[in-house]
Amino acid sequence: MSFDLLALVCASYVIGLFAIAFWADKRAEAGQSSWLNSPLIYTLSLSIYCTAWTFYGAVGYAARSGMEFVTIYLGPTLVMVGWWLLLRRLVRIGRTQRITSIADLISSRYGKSNLIGVLVTLLAVVGTMPYIALQLQSVTLSFDVFSANPGEGLNQTAFVVAAGLAAFTILFGTRNLDMNARHHGVVIAIAVEAVVKLVALLAVGIFVVFILAGGPGSMMDVISASPIAEQSIRPERWTVLIALSAMAFICLPRMFQVMVVENYDERHLATASWAFPLYLFLMSLFVVPIAAIGLNVLPDEANPDLFVLTVPLEFDRDALALLAFLGGFSSATSMVIVAAIAVSTMVSNHVVMPIWLSQRQGGATVSGDVRSVVTLSRRLSIAGLLALGYLYYVFSGGGGALAAIGLIAFTGMAQVMPALVGAIFWRGATRYGAAAGITVGFTVWLWSSFLPSFGAGGIISADVFENGPFGIGMLRPQALFGIDGLDPLVHAVFWSLLLNTFAFCLVSLLTLPTPLERLQGATFVNVFRYSENAPGWTGGAAEAEDLLMMSQRILGGREAQDLFISEAQSQGKEGYLPDVTPAFLERLEREMAGSVGGATAHAMLMQITGGEAVSVEDLIKVADEAQQILEYSSQLEAKSAELGRTADQLQQANEKLVALSVQKDGFLSQISHELRTPMTSIRSFSEILMQGENMSSGERQRYSQIIHDEAIRLTRLLDDLLDLSVLENGQVTLNERSEMLDAILDRAIAATATPEQYIEIQREPPMEAVPLFTDGDRLAQVFINLISNAGKYCDAEEPKLQIEVHMLDGRRVVDFIDNGTGVPPDVQKVMFEKFARGTDHRAAGGAGLGLAICREVMKRLGGDVIYLPDREGSAFRVVLPEARQAAA
């Protein structure tokens, strides 16, 4: 068979895949994707686990190591059979949290830590790179088998394959801009490839068993006679390999992609739990027979990794060989495509986008060009990843057996396992723990597995292999901590995962999770409690009319209708209701986000479309936004309440000022009156006297007396005003000292003893013998005022004033009670005010400031003066200041 024919067939096959993928994408876009979402397709898509390594390598593995290759199938089988335990959780979390990759899942769980995202991405890139190289190598080698000049132009072939795969992946892997959307075309293509590789391997197997060996019975004889039968089972390798392949099955980016991200319905897992192990069983069924026959019929130097191809060719079965070639080609390409999609998503989301966003002002401004940046970064990531794989292939010189490279990649990705298991089972796991575990595991893996894979003298020198770096024997790559003699793989898996897990647990216990981590932790660990139903995305279920009604509430009637009509037109539909496509939902969400915020918009749309459960994260965001609005409005409320209070205070102050102004006017008016009245008399009489007209000396004497009295009245008024002003302003200086009450009363009575205002004063001397510590002159001033008021106003025929001293409620009081008719009630109310004189103020002689002054004085002294309304006559009570210890 010519190489050209092979190339032609190969190209046709690839074109066929393109067509199938393209067609499936179209169907999905048109919403006719029901059978594309079947459990069968899901199961077949899982077959990307079986790469070229499995397709070709398993036979080589069996030829070299006997039954050990089975472990690579047993691990995933255990995981699938036990899907209820772990896979179901992962799928549920993936759906409810809208997870885009394993890096996304882990970083989401650990509080959206981008550091974790970057670490896992780095691990994925480094772990996937050799794996891609492996696929390139197998395809290249299989091409070479058919080549006219074996061994030539291998790198060119690898380059062409890599470039072709990059083109396919870019074309179908980044078609849908929604990072979370499923890749229908790709999934269908890999399902087809899954069938091709299974059929190819079964065909070769049946050819070997039934044609070459002549039936199962004689086949067993051949196997028994082959070196395979002599291989013994090494339990430690078996254990480690089963565990490793199980972990890799879960952690490999491409497996996570098909298993979780591309999952349409959780129930598909139940089907896959038996169908996928069956697939693996069929894939492994003829591995040993092919290996045994290959060893038997082919020359010793033949590469066992290529037996699947070379055995049919040996017997000139070109068509079978071609089928086998396509099977291997399928295995390699499907793996590379899905891995490139998965890893490029991680690189784009966790490395490129954060950098790009941080380079821009305004951070996460969601605008149209973000999407083109996402697409571009994913495309570049795919190209970059394939370039790395190609470079790894070139520099590793295609060295090492396929299986060895595969296991190295497995071990690398398995470093995610402790953090992943912790993420979904242990609420105490923290981001620091995860970062520490992954970093430690990654480092140990690099040192003990990845770098040594280039061989002694490759990157690590032979000397370091022998004696450790800087002669530190404890750190020899394949004999860490001085434990020598272990199988290198067992050694690397053991130490990397042990130290990884240890670091993860220790640091998690020592650090505290952030609130978001706590919440995400609870959500992840209790995912089934938080999301009883996680139905698949069913965009068609959303009623356009419901959406319109909701949008109108948010966007406003006119804007919402315009949006719907324009969408309907762009879909080529008449009327105002467009089909509810994911693209439309996205557009709507963007529009609504402008009004109500992104989180709210998403949550509302999800409620109506019922496509996905509203994630806890959505709710947190909604709550955050609501909280912000709440805070803002409560701030506004507080502000308006404050304004209200201020307005009230201003109003009160204003009223007070108006009242004060009125009071001041009244006061000035009063003062004017009180000053002008005596002035009038003085002026009149002085003019009379000046004219010196004929008047008696008695008249002259009398008028002079009036002038004199009025002058004194004026002076007294001015004195009172000044006194009151001083008292009111608190500028008065009190001259406090120890003095007896009776002495003060004596002084006051003496000062008021005028013949024209005679009043009989009755006292109780024993009661008055009270020591005081106060300003005696001021207190006497009050007493004088009260006594002289009694003298002026008491209307009894024989005016009497009773002065009583007694204790009341622990305070000493002095009552001044006369035997007159008392103060009229209307005067009682105002008499302590300034200028509030009783009715007949001719008799008063004062300006009406006396009682106001009394009250001010008593307040300064720490007591009070009040009127006792229910007594016979006028009754004033002076409440003396509280007794204080006289200063020594």
Binding site: S672, P678, T680, S684, I706, H841
Partner: protein
């Protein structure tokens, strides 16, 4: 010629005495009344040719009394000289609006009040 009567409604004894002295020398008969409440009745009773009315009186303000006087037919045209110790413009305005013939602020000069009285009862 009939004796001219002036009714002085004022509550300050010294001012009463001063005005009485000034006017009686000029040949007036000076009656006095010092309570606001009964002032209008006193006017009716005495039927004075002129009233000298203080604003700040006990029990009733001079303005209220003036208002009553101007409202009643028999006292409508009696000249009223208002006296006040509160010399603010608004007091003068109020007095003039209520129909006071003249308005004088205390303290006044004897000549001033004499001339005003003569003028009012010319």
């Amino acid at each position: 010629m009939e004796e001219r009567k002036v009714l002085l409604i004022e509550d300050e004894p010294n001012i009463i005495e001063a005005i009485r002295f000034i006017l009686s020398r000029d040949g007036w008969r000076v009656d006095t009344h010092s309570d606001g409440k009964s002032a209008v009745e006193a006017v009716r009773e005495r039927a004075p040719d002129l009233i000298i009315l203080d604003v700040m009186l006990p029990n009733r303000s001079g303005y209220d009394i003036l208002n009553d006087l101007r409202g009643a037919e028999e006292t409508h045209d009696v000249p009223v000289l208002m006296l006040t110790a509160r010399g603010q413009t608004k007091d003068r305005e109020l007095a003039e609006r209520l129909g006071a013939s003249r308005f004088m602020t205390k303290p006044f000069s004897n000549r001033e009040i004499l001339e005003t009285v003569r003028e009012l009862v010319g």
